[in-house]
């Protein structure tokens, strides 16, 4: 089933994380397999600073070596400013590498190289933060303290898995390294996933999972890279992607939503007081007290800061 939310504020808000968690809590009935949030505008990074969030598995000794290996690579492309374990579990760390003297092209190369190290997985890399894991949104929040974060916009996902594995990597949001800081959350199925994936792979793009949602973010990123506006990319996605779907895309300063041609997945939007919000159901938008509107089949919207 899955539930999706998105929110964008014209101004940075200290309670943005708390709002997203409240919205997602109200959609918890749509699935308990996983939950995730991509949160933008809360990191206050300088121009050449980027955050790479990495999962490192193995025995404790091995993990320390792996951190050194990632650091060495990161220092090759830029300069590691700080390393922080934000989660220290029995057999894995989730570790943030704050890297200076970077640009997005080098960050992409770094992320793909780090992804190639055994027992290491890149969870996100950019100027935003990604929090995703198995379980409910409250479980994810208790690990990552999303509700204490500030920011300008965010997208979130409650997962009921109908496609691919139940683990941290298959939880949404998904990121594409084709375009800076682009992420997606999705409710539905992309039935022409393999054909879409083949076309994107033929253009040299790299998939990290076998989840159909991942092809949406690469598809949109590919269009943006070609110079299309987000509205045009969404219009094209509604035409090219088959199956029942509603998805929300986030970029550094936009969120967009699109719904399939047959209207088989729910999506509604709300607007007012410098806030734009999107959800699968009105129940998640209700605390915002804004006027709500259902999206028609094949409809899409874009909101900007």
């Amino acid at each position: 089933m899955c539930g999706i939310v998105g929110i964008l504020s014209k101004e940075k808000r200290d309670d943005l994380g708390a709002i997203v968690i409240e919205m997602m809590n109200r959609l918890q009935h749509r699935g308990r397999d996983g939950a995730g949030v991509a949160l933008y505008g809360g990191l206050d990074l300088k121009e050449n600073e980027y955050l790479m969030r990495v999962e490192i598995q193995g025995e404790e000794e091995d993990r320390k070596e792996l951190i050194d290996a990632v650091q060495e690579l990161a220092n090759h492309y830029g300069s590691v400013k700080s390393i922080q374990n934000i989660v220290e579990a029995e057999d894995y760390y989730i570790t943030d590498f704050l890297v200076d003297k970077m640009d997005f092209k080098r960050l992409k190369k770094l992320a793909l190289e780090v992804q190639g190290i055994e027992n290491v997985a890149v969870l996100s890399a950019g100027k935003f933060e990604m929090f995703k894991d198995v379980g409910t949104i409250n479980q994810v929040d208790s690990i990552y303290r999303v509700s204490e974060k500030s920011g300008t916009h965010a997208i979130g996902h409650i997962r009921f898995s109908t496609e691919s594995g139940v683990d941290r990597y298959h939880a949404h949001p998904f990121q594409s390294f084709l375009y800076p800081d682009i992420t997606v959350v999705h409710n539905g199925q992309i039935t022409n996933y393999w054909n879409t994936r083949k076309k994107l792979e033929a253009k040299g793009h790299y998939f990290t999972t076998d989840n159909d949602t991942e092809c949406i973010v690469h598809y949109i990123a590919d269009k943006l890279l070609e110079g299309y506006k987000l509205e045009e990319a969404l219009e094209s996605a509604v035409r090219d992607l088959d199956g029942p779907f509603a998805f929300i895309i986030a970029t550094p300063d936009e969120i967009g939503v699109a719904k399939d041609k047959l209207g088989l997945r729910p999506a509604m939007v709300a607007e007012g007081d410098g806030i734009f919000a999107i959800s699968s159901e009105e129940v998640a938008l209700e605390p915002l007290g804004l006027e709500t509107e259902y999206l028609a089949p094949g409809d899409f919207r874009v909101y900007r800061k």
């Binding site: 159901e281 209700e286 028609a296 089949p297």
Partner: protein, 227 residues
């Protein structure tokens, strides 16, 4: 008598249990405060009672009700009135997809727009949409009557086998087994009466109706108007 239920801190199960208990005790008017777009409000309630929802309702509002008069003062999510057998539901804002799915009787009025698949597999009763009705209105409609004062989006009346969709605006496209015909005097009288009764302008000019081409066909082999 009038009873108020503050839904804010109650689960849907607690709300519906309270409603059913009150109806059993002869309550005639129940007001749901702070409904918070919760799902399944008043699901399965049977009885002569008016239920006022002071806000939006979530999915399946008034599903399987019988005899209830339900007023939703804002919006309703997917499948409002699903499988109701008798009674009245009024949605004063907009309705999500599948409003009135499979209804056996009663009347549903939506003052604003309705989503996709309005009146899907409805068997009897009446649905009135004050605004537009979205994609595949009347999908697999098996009976009853629908009135749409605005426009109908694509594939209207897809695989309709019985019943009629009266409409005033434009139709993006017709579904299989659906054709548009002019309304007759009987239709006109009925339309005037029902629109007036539900506080809509009772002008019947421009009304036409969508009816089945064939009343019996095997699904998947429905004829189109072009033949």
């Amino acid at each position: 008598m009038k009873m108020e239920i503050d839904c804010r801190d109650l689960s849907v199960r607690e709300i519906n249990r309270t409603i059913k208990e009150a109806v059993k005790n002869g309550e005639k008017r129940i007001v749901l405060l702070n409904p918070g777009a919760k799902h399944y409000l008043a699901a399965g309630v049977v009885g002569d009672v008016e239920i006022i929802v002071k806000g939006s309702a979530g999915y399946f509002a008034g599903t399987m009700i019988h005899g209830v008069r339900m007023i939703i003062e804002k919006n309703a999510g997917w499948f409002a009135g699903d499988n109701m057998t008798d009674g009245y539901i009024e949605i004063q804002g907009t309705a999500g997809d599948g409003v009135g799915q499979g209804i056996y009787g009663g009347t549903i009025v939506v003052r604003g727009n309705a989503g996709a698949r309005t009146g899907e597999i409805m068997k009897n009763g009446t649905i009135i949409i004050g605004g537009n009705s979205d994609f595949m209105t009347g999908l697999y409609m098996m009976g009853g009557r629908m009135i749409v004062l605005g426009n109908l989006r694509g594939m209207a009346g897809e695989s309709i086998v019985r019943g009629a969709i009266y409409f005033k605006g434009e139709v993006d496209s017709l579904g299989k087994n659906a054709k548009i015909v002019e309304i007759d005097e009987q239709d006109e009288e009925w339309l005037k009466e029902i629109l007036k009764a539900h506080d809509f302008p009772a002008f019947t000019e421009k009304f036409r109706k969508i009816v089945p081409i064939k009343k019996r066909f095997v699904y998947g082999s429905a004829p189109s108007e072009e033949g």
